[in-house]
Amino acid sequence: MSELRGIYTLWLREVKRYTREKTRLISSFIQPLLWLIIFGSGMRFASTGLAGIDYQKFIFPGIVGQTLLFTSMFMGISVIWDREFGFLKEILVAPISRVSVFVGKMLGGSTDAVIQGSFVFLFSFLVAIHVGIDTFLLSLPIMLLITFGMVSVGLTIASLMESLESFGVIQTFVNLPLFFLSGALFPLSYFPQWLRWVSVVDPLTYGVDALRITILKGAWISIQPLYYDLLALVVFDLAMILVGTLIFGRTR
């Protein structure tokens, strides 16, 4: 019971901190807009090979996925931040387990990332996609499943890092390959065979595919069935939470 309360407390803290940072909230609007409008319209010549889906429509779910990925990874910074400012000590000496601390932070980061991802849905009219409340509600659990694992990865990396700078560098190395390989920007069928194999181990591939299934509906020919995507995400989440709690548990 007290562990649950601890998790809730740490979750609440992450969410409060996030919603109080106005600059971060505003900047979260900018990046997806740039991708959708500038990148998307510039690439309109590209054919998606799918009837009724132009390039901008095609990348829309991908940009949702990208926002989730980048934000989730960035959430790891809270570990470094807390360590730097001493607050981590207050949490670590509290009578709650390291697993709960990790899970609380993870859930908080996921909530923040999903809020950020949800903002992207506000721009769906720009690419002429109709997103009803039902579509959004269906996307919500998928978004959560994407972020659980990704935030765990971010927290894990941050636990191993000494400084903010090194965290930033490593992040780029992780973010961009995951993003490009996921098929967020181009159909995976355009990839050479060997790259397609690599994209199979990218968890975001399944996330983006699942988001396309729910957002683009019948117009999208899914790579694999939805339940398969979800299963892959669940496996990824569980594995990353396990690794994360093990590594975070060793921090001082």
Binding site: M1, S2, R5, G6, Y8, T9, L12, R13, K16, R17, R20, E21, E84, F85, G86, F87, K89, E90, I91, L92, V93, A94, P95, I96
Partner: protein
């Protein structure tokens, strides 16, 4: 309340804390005094179960810190040397979070938060973000936070480090008030002599990881067996010679026409010296008497002075935070 047995901690080949043994009584304010790097914080970290002892242990309120660390954590409050608050949250939110983390029942927690806010006089600032607090206010809130879960023992690691003298006096007042109002045992580390002298009922002077003296500040100073007297006179040499002959001073030093004496029972000695001077026809210009300070005690035991350091005790972000610079 606290019993420390052969507590030892090595870092590689360095012995940071070397077989400490001491006991702290319930309700006592106990001080660990020593220069930076003497092993105070390491000792405290072991008592707070943050650090595992290399060997030896401590019993807090009947619970062994090495055997049941999580049980110990519920019984103790800690105010860290470095700042450890979330400055993006308000004062009250920081306290609420602490109450939640320590599982204080929520109705009781609310009441308790009001109590501790009142104790440190931050009630009117409770709804402000911590980043708007001054260094002294942050420290007070940290002390308040350490008390929320009704700890049996409160550990204060350098409670007034990096604060200006006026704020320091304030914090001292809060700590004194606290030890009177709540029946709580307190252990504090410090390298400020005055702090140990003012607040602590008993002080352990610690150097290179070892306790070199342990007693009440009063008795430690009495242990010097004397008072410091300085005499300014015209013919100091004559006076010095006579005093040496009579063999009534413990030590005698002459500098720039001034005599520095260590004597037993200075109060009785002053008129005596005046008499002797008068009998020699030596006119005394001025005379002062002061009691020995803990600084003198430390000097006596180690042959060194505790270096009182000023600004650069914090580095990087911690320094910025403590000073409240944005």
């Amino acid at each position: 309340m606290i019993e420390v047995k052969n507590l030892t901690r090595n870092f590689g080949s360095l012995v940071a804390v070397n077989k400490l043994n001491f006991a702290v009584r319930p309700g006592e304010v106990f001080g660990l005094l020593g220069p930076n790097g003497a092993g105070k914080t390491t000792t405290l970290s072991m008592l707070c179960t943050i650090l595992k002892p290399t060997f030896g242990t401590a019993i807090i309120n009947g619970v062994d810190v090495t055997q049941h660390p999580s049980q110990v954590r519920r019984m103790i409050g800690i105010v860290f040397q470095d700042p450890s608050i979330d400055d993006r949250l308000t004062g009250r939110e920081n306290l609420e979070m602490h109450a939640n983390l320590y599982g204080v029942p929520s109705a009781e927690g609310k009441k308790r938060i009001e109590e501790v806010l009142e104790l440190v006089e931050l009630k009117d600032k409770a709804e402000l973000l911590m980043r708007t607090y001054s260094g002294g206010m942050r420290r007070r809130l940290e002390i308040a936070r350490g008390l929320i879960h009704y700890p049996k023992v409160l550990f204060l690691d350098e409670p007034t480090i990096g604060l200006d003298p006026q704020t320091r006096e304030h914090i001292w007042a809060y700590i004194s008030a606290l030890s009177k109002r709540e029946s709580i045992t307190m252990i504090l580390t410090t390298h400020y002599m005055e702090e140990a002298d003012k607040l602590c009922e008993r002080v352990a002077i610690i150097d290179y990881g070892k306790i070199i003296a342990l007693d009440t500040p009063k008795r430690l100073k009495e242990g010097m067996e004397g008072d410091m007297i300085s005499v300014k006179a015209e013919a100091v040499n004559e006076l010095a010679e006579k005093l040496n002959q009579l063999n009534i001073v413990k030590s005698l030093k002459e500098t720039h026409g001034e005599l520095k004496l260590v004597v037993k029972n200075g109060g009785a000695m002053v008129p005596r010296i005046v008499e002797i001077a008068a009998s020699l026809g030596v006119r005394i210009e001025s005379m002062s008497i002061r009691e020995p300070t803990l600084e003198d005690v430390f000097l006596h035991f180690t042959g060194r002075e505790i270096r009182a350091e000023g600004g650069d005790e914090y580095h990087g972000l911690a320094a910025i935070k403590r000073r409240g610079i944005k």
